[in-house]
Structure formats: structure tokens, C-alpha cells
């Protein structure tokens, strides 16, 4: 999608991403390390997550939340590029 709105649910990226607030995102920009990305959960395509890209290894995205207790790629694995929906503009 060229441009879309993403509404954040949950506090694992707070205070950078505020729960309940809407952010602009785009599918034509490739998220880079440090960016927030919207993506499908590799373990369940129906779920859409938002996390910060911490690394890109072998074309796979490693995701982290802002909080130490947030879920991350340690829990759901690395994210393939075709699961990435877009980069978030914060």
C-alpha cells in the first residue's frame, strides 16, 4: 500500500509510539535499522505487529519492542521481507 494509517494497540513501544494513536505508514519505503515497521507475525499471518527494526540479517528482519518485556524476534522469529507491510513515520 502506498500510504496507510496504523493505529497502535498496546504499550510495548511506548513512549515513542503511544497506544491508541494513529501513525502514517507506507509500503513503498523499506524500513531500515532503527525504523518502526508494521508487519505480519511470522507465526500467525493474521496478526499485525509494530516493532522497531533492530537488525537486518540475511534479508531477514530482527524486531524489538522499546520495553525489555516486549515481545521480539526472540519470541516470534525473524521476519521475512514479504511479511513487512510498511515503514512507520514517527
Amino acid at each position: 500500500m502506498l500510504l496507510f494509517i496504523v493505529r497502535v494497540e498496546g504499550e510495548s513501544d511506548w513512549p515513542v509510539l503511544v497506544p491508541g494513536r494513529r501513525y502514517l505508514a507506507s509500503g513503498i519505503f523499506v524500513p531500515r535499522v532503527g525504523d518502526f515497521a508494521v508487519f505480519r507475525n511470522p507465526r500467525d499471518r493474521q496478526q499485525i505487529f509494530i516493532k522497531r527494526v533492530s537488525r537486518v540479517l540475511d534479508d531477514q528482519y530482527i524486531m524489538n519492542g522499546e520495553r525489555s518485556w516486549a515481545s521480539s524476534s526472540d519470541d516470534f522469529g525473524s521476519v521475512p521481507p514479504d511479511y513487512i507491510l510498511g515503514k512507520v513515520f514517527v
Binding site: F4, I5, D13, L24, F49, K51
Partner: protein, 162 residues
């Protein structure tokens, strides 16, 4: 209204989860095991209580008092055990864990029933069944957490509580 809020009227909107997809609390089956072991200990002690030496009220009162205290502790810890198990069941275990261990619902349900049975009865056998049921759930718990070796440490700690 910010720009994203304004554009939300014309652009498609997705909801993205930034919640903690792993439990944020500290979960551990050891409190349930301690409660189950307490129930067992109380059942053993109640069964060992000697009858009053005389028919005098003071002698009977002493026995009744000792009995009442142990029954109270047994009741409380059977309830506590149930609560601890239900916390693991409802807050810690997730649908994917059930896929891996399809017997989980049945195990927890039967363990909770055993808690009730131990409140209703004074039975060493029922108390030992409860201890074994808690151990079965603990084994799955450590498997799910990816630390199956911690089950041995749990057993070592909780088998010698009395």
C-alpha cells in the same frame, strides 16, 4: 488533530499490536506445589492426631483445637493451590502451548477438582494425587518456557519441604 488523525478519514487503517505477546508477570508452579505439599502434610498430621486421653472437655478441647487449626490450613492451601494453578492456566499458558500439549486443559481441570476434593476430605491418597497433578503441570510449564532442565531443580526443592 495531527496529520495521521486527519488522513485516517481518507486512508485505509490497520491496527497493529505493540502489546507484550509474552506474559509480563512472573509465573512459576512452585507456589502451587508448596500449597499441595502443605495439604499433604496437614492430611498426614490430621490422620496422626491422637484421640483425647480423657472424656473431660479440656482434653477434648485441646484435640479439637489442634484438629481445627490443621483443617483450616488444609482448606486454605487447597484453595491457594487452585488459585495458583488457575493463574498459570489463564494468564501464562497460550493457545499455541495447548496445541503442543493438548492434554493441558484436562490436566488443569482435574488438578482443580483435586483441590476441591482435598477440601472435602482428609485423604492422604487425594493429597498425593494433587501433588502429582501439580508436578504434571509444572513439567509442561518448564517445557513451554524452554527450560525443561528446571523441572529437576523444582522437584529437588519441593520434594523435601517436610
Amino acid at each position: 488533530m495531527d496529520i495521521a488523525g486527519y488522513l485516517s478519514h481518507i486512508l485505509p487503517e490497520a491496527r497493529a499490536q505493540a502489546h507484550c505477546d509474552i506474559p509480563c508477570g512472573i509465573y512459576e508452579p512452585t507456589p502451587a506445589k508448596i500449597a499441595a505439599m502443605t495439604v499433604l502434610r496437614m492430611a498426614l498430621q490430621i490422620n496422626e492426631l491422637p484421640p483425647p486421653e480423657t472424656e473431660e472437655f479440656s482434653a477434648r478441647k485441646a484435640v479439637i483445637h489442634s484438629l481445627a487449626r490443621r483443617v483450616k490450613v488444609k482448606e486454605e492451601h487447597a484453595e491457594l493451590c487452585k488459585r495458583e494453578l488457575l493463574i498459570l492456566w489463564t494468564d501464562f499458558f497460550k493457545p499455541e502451548h495447548l496445541e503442543k500439549f493438548p492434554q493441558l486443559h484436562d490436566l488443569v481441570w482435574k488438578a482443580a477438582k483435586l483441590c476441591s476434593k482435598n477440601k472435602q476430605e482428609v485423604s492422604e491418597e487425594a493429597a498425593r494425587e494433587l501433588v502429582a497433578a501439580v508436578d504434571g503441570i509444572a513439567k509442561i510449564f518448564y517445557e513451554v518456557k524452554g527450560v525443561p532442565e528446571r523441572y529437576d531443580a523444582y522437584q529437588k526443592l519441593t520434594e523435601k519441604l517436610f
